[in-house]
Structure formats: C-alpha cells, structure tokens
Amino acid sequence: MFTFDEFAHPVPDGISAAQSAAWQSVAGAGSWWSGQQRVTIARELRAARRQRSEASPSPKPSPSVSDLPAAAVEATRRIATDAHRLDRTWCDGITQELGDAAYVELVAVSVFTTVVDVFAEALGTKLEPLPRPRVGDPDKQRPAGLGDAGAWVPMTVPWRGPNVARALSLAPNEQRGFMGLVGSMYAMADFAELVWDRPLSRPQVELVAARVSAVNECFY
C-alpha cells in the first residue's frame, strides 16, 4: 500500500488502498493493452505533465519515450495537457486507429496516473515509482449492452446517477477502479447528503472541486 511517508500527517487508509489498487491495476494486462503498454502509457502521461509544468521558451513536444502507436502517444499527451480542447472529430480519428474500447482503457490509465500524481504533488510528497509491469495478454473482452448516451464513445444505457460514473463503461474493470478512487477521495457513503460530517464542510469541498474544474476549463 502507498504509505505517503514524506507527509507528516496521516492519510486515510481508504485513499491509500484505492490508489495502491489503481496503481497495481496499471501494471497488469487490461482488455486491449498489455501491462508493459499500460505502464508505458503512465510514463508518457507523466512525461507530458512534467513538460507542461516546466517553463520553456519552446513548447515543442519532446520525443516520445515509448514504442506505443503514435495515436496512443498523441491521446495520452492531449489528455495530460489540454483535455478541455478535445473534440469529437479528434476522438473519432483516435478511435479509428486504436479502437474505441482501447481508447477508453487508455483514458482510464491516464486518469489513474493523473490522480495518483496530482494527489502526491498536492501533499508535497515524491511521485510513486511506476509499477513493474506484470506478464499477461489482454483478454480482448468487449462489454455487451452499451449504447449511445450522447457521448463520443458507447456507454451503459439507460442510466441513473451522475453521467461521469458511466463514462468508462467500455472498460468495466477500469470503471470499477476509477469509482474506487472517487469513493475514497470524494464521493463517500454520504455523497447524497448536502451537509457532511467531515474535516472539510461540503461547501468547502465543492469550492475546491469547482476551482479545479475551472482551472482545467472543464465544462462538465
């Protein structure tokens, strides 16, 4: 489990467990990418984030650190640095190259890495080392019963609840991992309550959430 030793105060076990589980899942084969490829996606994501935060007179992207398909490198970098500018045409082009389910799995791995890294940076601790890839082949399983939810990729329909909770439907294992992170870091058992008995009040948490969304220029 992640220990966050450099942070002088306790971190709830639930956060540590969910992040450790997500990290371990990155290292194993998914449905469309091997463990090696998934860890490489995480490395690309990390490199893109690092480059974004470095003040440089030349915004030219550095060469890729991997042998992933070019579309996968492009997608990972865009998700890291300017996700708010993505559009359906771009997504259609990428999914034509990779397949929609492989794209969604790539989104999930990129998001796991982002969440783990941003949390560490927020605490002021070192980034976790990338996990060691595990041997295994992708199972090529595509979930059945998905439909058009008005998004760029198929999702579970019908649906009750926040739309974002079904966004990774094409990669059900990743969706479970992502909701594990959401459940430990934000939407706990009291999500439906407007008054929280937590260290921060709900309005304080929602201000932080809203500010993060606005800084990312995220409409959702």
Partner: protein, 133 residues
C-alpha cells in the same frame, strides 16, 4: 452547483465567483482553499507556502480532504473531457442561471452538451434531484 446547494443547506449563501477565481466562494478559508486548488492543479513556486498556510488554517485532516478533492477532480475532468460526455440534464437545468454569468458556456467542452435543452426552473434541493437517482 453543489457548492450552491450545500451552502444553502447550511443556511449560507455561496459566492459562485469563487469557482472561477473571483472571491472566496463564501466559505470559511475559501481564499486559501481556492489558491491551493489552483496551484496544486497548475503547479507553481508558491505551492509549498500555500500548502503550509492551509494546513495551519484548517488542520492536517481537512488539508488531506482538500488534497484528495484536487487529485480526484483532476481525474474526473479528464474522464469527462476525453469521452465527450454531456452534462446530466438535472445539472444542465440547475446551472443555467450562472453558467453564462461565470463564462462556463464559453469553455470548449460545452459543445458536448445541448445548452438549448436546458429548462431552468425550480432548482432541485437535493443531490438525488440533480442527478436523477
């Protein structure tokens, strides 16, 4: 939107401009929380100072809560933006009155939602009403 609803549930008035860097959101230590959220997302040389100030102001437990929120929302926004998921209908309706004022409709991601379908009316008073549980 949940900022406004949860503030109202406490009998307080939210300052929604805090979400876009105008004001402190109408919440205790809102200025520090918003600065921390921004710096931890963008990065910046003064992040350590703001982090220390926030821990001193709210305590370490609440600080971890804030850091966790920053972390997970940097993921949530990417899930939404990379999949082009439209805004939930309840949220679309309930946020119609301030999206324009705050400039949110100008964000590129607004193209994924049918803004014309918004039916502003009486706002849901609970989370279930917003998300259609």
């Amino acid at each position: 939107m949940l900022l406004r609803a949860s503030s109202e549930a406490l009998g307080e008035e939210a300052d929604l401009g805090g979400a876009v860097g105008r004001g402190a959101g109408g919440v205790l230590h809102g200025d520090l929380l918003a600065s921390f959220a921004e710096l931890a997302t963008r990065g910046g040389d003064n992040l350590p100072d703001v982090r220390a100030a926030l821990i001193a102001a709210v305590g370490p437990e609440a600080f971890v809560d804030a850091a966790a929120t920053v972390g997970i929302f940097n993921g949530l926004v990417r899930v939404a933006d990379a999949t082009g998921i439209p805004l939930d209908k309840g949220t679309l309706d309930a946020s119609a009155d301030f999206r324009s004022t705050l400039g949110l409709n100008e964000y590129a991601g607004a193209r994924s939602s049918d803004l014309g379908a918004a039916e502003p009316g009486e706002r849901p008073r609970n989370v279930e009403g917003l998300f259609g549980f």
